[in-house]
Subunit: 270 residues, 3 copies
Amino acid sequence: MITLSSDFGSPYPAAMKGVLLQATDARLVDITHDFPRQDVRTAAFWLAEVLPYFPPAVHLVVVDPGVGTDREAVVVHAGEHALVGPDNGVLLPAARALSGEGRVDTVADSPVVFRLCDPTHAGSGDWPPDPDSATFHGRDVFAPAAARVHERGVGALATDPGLEDHDGYVDLRFPDPAAHESGATGEVLVVDGFGTAITNIPGDWLSDRVGTTVSVDGTEVPVRRSYAHVDPGTALVTVGSHGNVELAVNRGRGAAAFGVKAGSVVELGW
Amino acid sequence: MITLSSDFGSPYPAAMKGVLLQATDARLVDITHDFPRQDVRTAAFWLAEVLPYFPPAVHLVVVDPGVGTDREAVVVHAGEHALVGPDNGVLLPAARALSGEGRVDTVADSPVVFRLCDPTHAGSGDWPPDPDSATFHGRDVFAPAAARVHERGVGALATDPGLEDHDGYVDLRFPDPAAHESGATGEVLVVDGFGTAITNIPGDWLSDRVGTTVSVDGTEVPVRRSYAHVDPGTALVTVGSHGNVELAVNRGRGAAAFGVKAGSVVELGW
Amino acid sequence: MITLSSDFGSPYPAAMKGVLLQATDARLVDITHDFPRQDVRTAAFWLAEVLPYFPPAVHLVVVDPGVGTDREAVVVHAGEHALVGPDNGVLLPAARALSGEGRVDTVADSPVVFRLCDPTHAGSGDWPPDPDSATFHGRDVFAPAAARVHERGVGALATDPGLEDHDGYVDLRFPDPAAHESGATGEVLVVDGFGTAITNIPGDWLSDRVGTTVSVDGTEVPVRRSYAHVDPGTALVTVGSHGNVELAVNRGRGAAAFGVKAGSVVELGW
């Protein structure tokens, strides 16, 4: 199975699918091609949320503002999964999630990052593929790499002569929230398609406050189990499906109502 | 085969696909994830139009403004198909269409509605799944249910210990049009992506009027076989692919030209 | 394998998928359903760019402003591929590309165009399908035709009694650029989803100018290997993944910055 994620919209992803289907019979599953353009951080957040729900797979990810520069192309080995994409950090939060990092019930193996290297060791001129196109590595570099990783198997990454260890990779970590005596300070990580603002504050910090109110940047707001527990148009604080505190409006757009966007600082008080 | 429909946009549907693919090798087919947000009625209309074109399948549908409340989760048995989703009426028009209700050439079996019940009868703690998440039942309740229905087979619904008969389900029916001596009174059901207003008036009420005109809310408009039978930018009345009367503009947006939207009353006169 | 392309948006393409899946187990791959509405020329450009990356397949294409008129429905045989759609030119640039026309390394076989004909020769009343619907030939004519072509095989097109040679088909060719002593005159063919203007000027006309500047409609602009070789917000000329000259802005929208749209004349000077 190969999943595809990008900020390409349409119709560029179809060219990647064609390249994949020339090389493999793998099932292809679109995650999305509508990530905000060249927004590495938002894509990284969603991939870390969504990819852990998948069975073992190769995940092709192309959100790549540095295309055509000398940034590396990388393959990350994470649990029974592999991720293929640009070396700009977009793969790392998902790779840590797929490795089980941060979960108390597993012994986590940290992700291992490789970079695509000179093909002369491979005995074949076509690996890594020659990036003739400087503007569409999704089609010309990453899709062939994903197909190759799929066909060889994730277990063969360490012995692939077309890959080298790459320790100096670009990492990306989301900021940690801070708990204090009378509340918490966090940050809006992303705003989803419903307009709900998703913060980095863990939901369990609110677990005994459902049914009460907390202050958000000084205003008292009800804490509820889900959106429909307040009237339509009413603001609330809830815990989203990712386990984080959300600022929402039932049948409305929370980020607008709270006046926040990705990166905004959020002060909760109790 | 499992089809997926929602109002989630992107990237939430991918999490549902991951859950399904953990549990089944079924072919997955997206109907759409772009239903208008939390618009149960519009989703119900389109599902009733589109799903009858499919071979036997399990249809996972999540348009669910009541997520996290005590509304039930239901499975509907309709012909050789099953539909899985929230108990808010969104499944019923499609279920009736899949059962053959209203078709003169079939003996219709009415849809049978089940609700997901307490798992203690099932001998397994994981059915129905525990809705840990109060905000994303698509991923945590409906996708596991759809996978289970697919793996057990539609014929096994009545004997599934995780399901109970559910007679008091929420139904949803579209209003009937009224014929009168010199015309018809109907209603706009939905406006499609081309901007065409689709009414509840049966197309065969116009069958001997193609090539003439009718009045729409008092204005004479040509009745034509298809859009391109009038000049670009010209309004027309035609019969759409669903068999209903449409208010359209060739290469334009009919709803805007006629000043109507979903729910508007339409008076046709002849 | 059957690919699907249209300007339908959502949810109409799902009805085509249902019809296909009733008739075939073929893998279905969406190219896009977001072509600009009824824009035959833009769809033709993208199909010619994308379809050559696919392995042998049947390509179902529905961008059809003439639906319901007497325009023909056609099947085009191109190399190991077949294309199915309306006779309005949308299939022809892709068909030439799939046939290898214009490539120096292949002996091109020109595409062969058939039209769907009267079913009486076929010994079956259902081929070509009766276009009961005058407004949705994608579902009622082209999808059944694509399924049939797939099941019979591309090699059987010439002997299909449901098809006739169709010499008088509508062709569509993009304008040729003109080289002159101190520059080139071309045209913007399309603007992509990133806002980049793609011209008809071959990239190799700029091959020895990377790192210098050229004038675009009188203004000097840097020529670079890719977008990120200039600062964010800066305009550049580059060669896109299709091999043509592009007018772009790093992390911005080139067409807006250069004041051009599809059809605009572009003067390059050196």
